[in-house]
């Protein structure tokens, strides 16, 4: 399998430049670039250095622990994991429909999550690049700099995120790592007082989210020569859509389109995701590379997340966001938009949709209901199984569990949103390297161009990396008495462990 700029033929003759860690993203990643003595780029890789093994260590745990355990995968979108796990376990328990109160409270929690995550990403993390320029001064290129130069924008961003977090707190009990959803329903509904508190600010949030769309639209359309071409490449794209083809983050069936926008498959029940998607492992990243089986490894990779969703759906079921979607689609003049920076525009349309959905759900009396739980007939057989899929802020998220007769988890498989974008992010940074870095002296500002492309995908890479230059070959942790308590070494074959 060969992808342009993925693997240099003679890496030993090339100079290595690393961006380590990639900053202003959630979690940690590292980019390595190999250059020759004329600064021509020969290899670019986005490495995900995270390995935690959740899929393995939740085996043997009782299934009802899973929604609160797996949300600890990610503190930025814990609600997505919390709900995807709950949905998978609903299926495992044979539950077809939740009560209206349970379903609507889960949705409210999820749209709160979409609002806070999109606000965080745009205002706190990405806006410095877009407002100040990709090679602006490092000291200013952060939310503090935005607060100083554009206090109004920064304040709205902080308050939009706060509101989303408050929606989560009222539905899940806690802003981060709450407990609201349980297999079969929810453990609380909104009280009248909570509903009134949230309703008080709901209109203001819709209005500010609408302003945010105008900000990014203005930035984008003012400099199409940058936004249209920066990190742009063609690919398939995928998301779940509602039965009527509308945008829905909480539930739906799978739809994928090719680079021309032609439907590859549609309304496929995600319980059969295994028949559609396969994952490839490459030696240089802990993050897998998924692809659509029917198109094969080389042609089957795809984009997920805001840019995919806003163009994959047929309509958005709220008025303001739908008007913005139409304008966005019209900008493509009949062709799908594949510009990496268009993610920001699509993301703000989704934030507006989320704010409108929150307002709608808060007006629905079911949100205060007391009928919280449903029971079902558990699937017959030794092992019961369920798949839960949700559109998380960063894209389609898959959770798959098998549970034994003793209620303990026997198998778990997760395909997280950012994993679905792995090939797309790698392609984006290679496109940027080719266009902006080739043959130039590498400066901090040029390297930030690479990071700008990664940030557009809002990746969530939770875990750690660091160190410019030489990677360690050996590390030892020694306690106060000088006894080695852990160590890692590598021989020429890769990993080795001392006895």
């Amino acid at each position: 399998m060969t992808y342009e700029l993925e693997t240099a033929i003679h890496p030993e003759k090339l100079r290595r430049v690393a961006i380590d860690p990639v900053s202003r993203v959630e979690g940690h990643g590292k980019v390595t670039i190999l250059l020759d003595d004329k600064n021509q780029v020969h290899q670019v890789r986005l490495h995900i250095v995270e390995f935690r093994g959740f899929e393995r260590f939740i085996q043997g745990r009782p299934y009802w622990e899973v929604p609160v355990m797996v949300q600890r995968l990610c503190g930025i979108c814990p609600v997505s994991h919390h709900l995807a796990a709950s949905k998978a376990l609903d299926v495992m328990l044979g539950i077809k429909h939740l009560t209206p109160t349970a379903e609507k409270n889960r949705k409210l929690m999820h749209y709160g999550q979409m609002l806070q995550s999109h606000a965080l990403h745009f205002f706190h993390l990405s806006s410095p690049d877009l407002l100040f320029g990709f090679d602006s001064e490092v000291a200013k290129r952060n939310i503090v700099g935005v607060a100083a130069a554009h206090p109004d924008i920064a304040k709205k961003g902080v308050l939009l995120r706060k509101y989303g977090q408050e929606v989560i707190r009222h539905t899940a009990g806690k802003r981060i790592h709450g407990t609201g959803a349980i297999p079969g329903g929810v453990n609380k509904s909104l009280s009248s007082a909570e509903r009134a508190t949230l309703l008080k600010d709901a209109y203001q949030m819709v209005s500010w989210a609408h302003d945010a769309v105008q900000i990014i639209k203005q930035l984008y359309t003012a400099t199409p020569e940058l936004y249209d071409v920066f990190g742009t490449f063609r690919s398939n794209y995928m998301s779940i859509v509602a039965p009527d083809g509308g945008l829905d983050f909480y539930h739906g069936a799978l739809r994928a389109r090719d680079a021309d926008g032609k439907v590859i498959f549609d309304q496929i029940d995600y319980q059969g995701y295994n028949d559609l998607i396969e994952e490839e492992v490459r030696p240089w990243s802990y993050m897998k590379f998924p692809f659509l089986k029917q198109l094969g490894r080389e042609n089957g990779w795809y984009k997920v997340g805001p840019l995919a969703r806003v163009q994959n759906c047929d309509h958005i079921p709220t008025p303001l966001a739908e008007a913005e979607r139409k304008e966005f689609v019209a900008y493509g003049k009949g062709q799908p938009i594949h510009a990496t920076l268009a993610y920001h525009w699509a993301r703000m349309i989704e934030m507006l949709f989320s704010a409108e959905m929150i307002k709608e759900l808060l007006h629905d009396d079911d949100i205060e209901g007391s009928d919280l739980m449903t029971t079902g007939t558990r699937q017959p057989g030794v092992e019961a199984e369920g798949v839960g899929v949700i559109e998380a802020p960063r894209g389609t998220l898959f959770h798959h569990y098998r549970v034994g007769e003793d209620d303990l988890v026997t198998m778990a498989n997760l395909i997280v949103s950012t994993t679905n974008n792995n090939q797309a992010m790698n392609t984006a940074v290679r496109e940027v390297a080719k266009k902006y870095l080739n043959g130039k002296e590498i400066t901090e500002g040029l390297l930030n161009h690479i990071e700008v492309a990664i940030r557009a995908y809002d990746p969530c890479l939770s875990c750690a990396t660091h160190a410019l230059g030489q990677m360690p070959l050996e590390i030892a942790i020694v306690d106060a008495e000088g006894t080695v308590i852990d160590e890692a070494t590598r021989d020429h074959r890769g990993l080795t462990r001392p006895q």
């Binding site: 393995r56 990610c74 814990p78």
Partner: protein
């Protein structure tokens, strides 16, 4: 306006090791108080800035660590923070005691890697455990950070609430010994 400020801003560095970023999110849950905070502190290396190394611009007053230690890189970053920060804080369950990622400690690392990258269903043909030298080596076990360097303060919670983080920071900035009241002290 700046001329009126006589005390230099406290320099603060933060990082997330083997954590989920939830503690950093909780830090942002101080909400609009962040606009007050940036009048009092200046951020050095942090996921919120593009400064890649702590201490590059002189010693930091305060280093805040989220997450435990699960690989060689975590150890390097943690040691860099200890060396360049006057006060080092373990923020949240994973930094304090390893947290949820330490659930893997009772399983052999090689077995987990084999299962996730080699034997689990849905993998394309030829999948093997990633082993590129660019990937930091995982440790056999996930460790709390006090097993690697000396820690000055422990802030429990999964995550500690935004209010707890605010109280801790404002105490420290004012030169008081940080204390948390009963309702700010929790472990979930």
């Amino acid at each position: 306006m700046a001329a009126a400020i006589t005390t230099p801003k406290l320099k603060v560095a933060t990082t997330s090791l083997a954590g989920c970023f939830g503690c950093h999110m909780s830090f942002l849950d101080i909400d609009e108080r962040i606009l007050q905070l940036v009048e009092l502190v200046e951020f050095d290396r942090s996921p919120l800035t593009d400064i890649k190394h702590c201490g590059a611009n002189g010693l930091c007053d305060l280093g805040i660590i989220e997450g435990g230690v699960c690989n060689a890189e975590n150890v390097h970053v943690l040691r860099e923070f200890r060396k360049n920060c006057k006060i080092l804080v373990a923020m949240g369950a994973c930094a304090v005691n390893g947290g949820l990622p330490a659930q893997r400690n009772h399983i052999d690392l090689r077995d987990i890697l084999e299962e996730v990258y080699h034997t689990s269903p849905g993998l394309a043909q030829g999948s093997q455990i990633p082993n590129d030298p660019e990937l930091p080596l995982p440790l056999n076990k996930v460790h709390p950070i006090h097993e690697v360097v000396k820690i000055d303060y422990f802030l429990p919670g999964c995550p500690p609430s935004g209010d707890a983080i605010w109280k801790f920071l404002t105490d420290l900035i004012a030169g008081r010994t940080p204390t948390l009241s009963h309702e700010l002290m929790h472990y979930d």
